[in-house]
Structures are given as C-alpha cells and as structure tokens.
Symmetry: C2
Subunit: 181 residues, 2 copies
C-alpha cells in the first residue's frame, strides 16, 4: 500500500508537471503566433531604401500654418516603381508604396535667405495591399518617428488618424498627391 | 579659231562650276564636322529621365537672398546611380550625372503658410567625363532653360560661369553637395 501511495503521488506530480509544461507551451505558441501575426499580416513594414526612390514632389509648411508645430518644415513625397505606375495610370497596383517624409528646416546663419534641411520629424508610409488592408481602402498607413525604423506612431489608429481623411480622395485611389514633372 | 575659242569658253565654264561645287562640298563637310563635334564631343546631353533618379537633398532660396531674382525658390539635387556611388565614396566615377533643378515657389492662396512648387527656372547638369571635359576638372557643365531640352544657357562659358566656382571643391571632386540621409 505504502508503495502504491508513493506511486500515486509520483504519478500525480509527474502529471501536474506535464500539465503545467503543456499549458506554458500553449501560452508561448499563442503569444508568438499573435505577435508574429501582428508583424507579418497587419503591421506596415519600414520602407527600406526609400531615399533612393523617385521624388514625386515637395511642399513647404511655414510658421503661418496652424499645423506648423506638428509638421512645420518640408514634406518630400517619394514612390517606389509600382507607386510611380499608379501616379501615371491613376490606379495604384498591389505593392505600391508612397512615402511622405517630414523634415525640419533651418535658416543658414551666414547666408541670408538660404534655408537648409534639418532633422527628420517622421516618415509617413502608405502601402497598397487590398486584402490585408481591406478595411482602409486597400492601403496600410503608418508613421515612423524621427529616423527610427521601429517606433510606430499610428498602429491600430490608422482608420481614424489616416484613412478618415483619405476617404475624400476615393476617386483618386485615396491618394492626394500628383507627380510634378 | 572660233571653234577653239568656244571650246576654251566651255572648258572654262565647266572648270568654274567644278571649282564652285568643290568649294561648296568642302564648306558643307567643314560645317557638318564642326556642328557634330560640338554636339557629340563637347555638348552636355540633356539628362533624360532624371526626375526618376535619387533625390540627394533640397535647399530653399528665399526673398532675403541677393540671388533671389535669379534662383529664388527651391533647388532639388538628383543623381544617377553612378552619381550616388560618388556621394558614397567621395570619388565620382565616369558617367556620373548630378542635377540641380531650380523650381519657383508659390504660396497657397487658401491655406496660410503652405507653399507649393511652381514652374521650373532651369535644370543645371554636371556630367563626369574626364577625357571630354579635361579642361574643367573632368566635369561638363550645362543649364537648360525652363522645361527645354535644347535651350542651353552655358555652352562654351562653362570655365567661367561654372568651373571657376567649383574649383574651391577640388578636394571633393569639384562637388559642393552631400547626400542627406
């Protein structure tokens, strides 16, 4: 009996350990799965190499603008090859990426009237993937703070912070800008 | 005698015609040769497709600048792939082309503080060809007026209008600008 009791205790302990191990494994897989899903299916990837892409146009936001504190400086727009195809045809193919790069401006201390580019405020990205971003017109939206490739300013707020305004351009495939020749 | 006289006259006329034809042919060949030499050996070609090249940086020339009347607006710099290699390495390989695109600026009438790009003043070009442009540091210089691909503003004046100032940057392969990341 004593032997049986010890056996039962041993079995019970082994079972409990196995159950805990199983539960932890399931929790780990679930966490990893959710995390990787957020990265691979929803998150807009950082647009590596965009500074070598075509320059679409530029706009300057001066001190008289009510948005100066947030976006004051110069805004350069860039597009990858598919994005350029979109500007030409009016319909942006899958994989189009458009960049809105917000750079501060600094007046030259020695040369009156000359203004240079300063530090980067943030890099705003639009990526066309009709399935992944079906809820926001087929476009994924994100903003990367400063020079960071990971500090995301939009995330799950794309519907309200980006798409809500871009819906006004539905007839232009949700894009405000045009290529300046 | 009469027959001989007529013969001499005929010979003389034929000779004169041949001489005129020869002179005209020589003149034509000389003109064509000089013209084609100017186009193919010396003239800086228009940089077709440069608006799809990489954007190096931008500078704004405001009304306080003494150069405002001539170059006021925004200056965008572009580079072809070899030009980009030059910005990375500090030595620009043969075939490098750098563009300085001068665009006027226009304030937005409806949105205070917002300034858009207007018409093109001129497109300034530097092309690296050490043999052809040996006299000007291995760089050919030209400026194309407005959107024209043929209205050349520099021509034979490159040594005084361009190179004289660029010699100050001899240690940097005669280039003033740097790539802004």
């Amino acid at each position: 009996m004593t032997i049986h009791k010890t056996d039962r205790k041993l079995i019970s302990l082994a079972q409990r350990r196995r159950a805990i191990f199983l539960a932890l494994t399931v929790a780990c897989i679930a966490t990893w799965s959710l995390a990787s899903r957020a990265q691979s299916n929803d998150a807009v990837p950082y647009p590596t190499g965009y500074r070598q892409w075509a320059h679409v146009k530029s706009t300057i936001i001066g001190p008289k603008s009510p948005s100066f504190d947030k976006i004051g400086g110069i805004q350069h727009i860039y597009a990858n090859e598919k994005g350029m195809e979109g500007y030409r045809s009016g319909r942006f193919p899958e994989g189009s990426v458009l960049i809105y790069d917000f750079i501060k401006l600094e007046e030259d201390a020695k040369n009156p009237g000359v203004t240079h580019e300063g530090e980067r405020r943030f890099t705003s990205v639009m990526v066309k993937d009709s399935k992944r971003y079906a809820a926001t017109g087929g476009w994924g939206f994100e903003e990367f703070r400063g020079d960071s490739q990971t500090d995301r300013m939009i995330g799950a707020d794309a519907p309200t912070k980006c798409y809500a305004c871009h819906t006004s351009q539905k007839e232009r495939d949700y894009v405000f800008s045009s290529f300046r020749k």
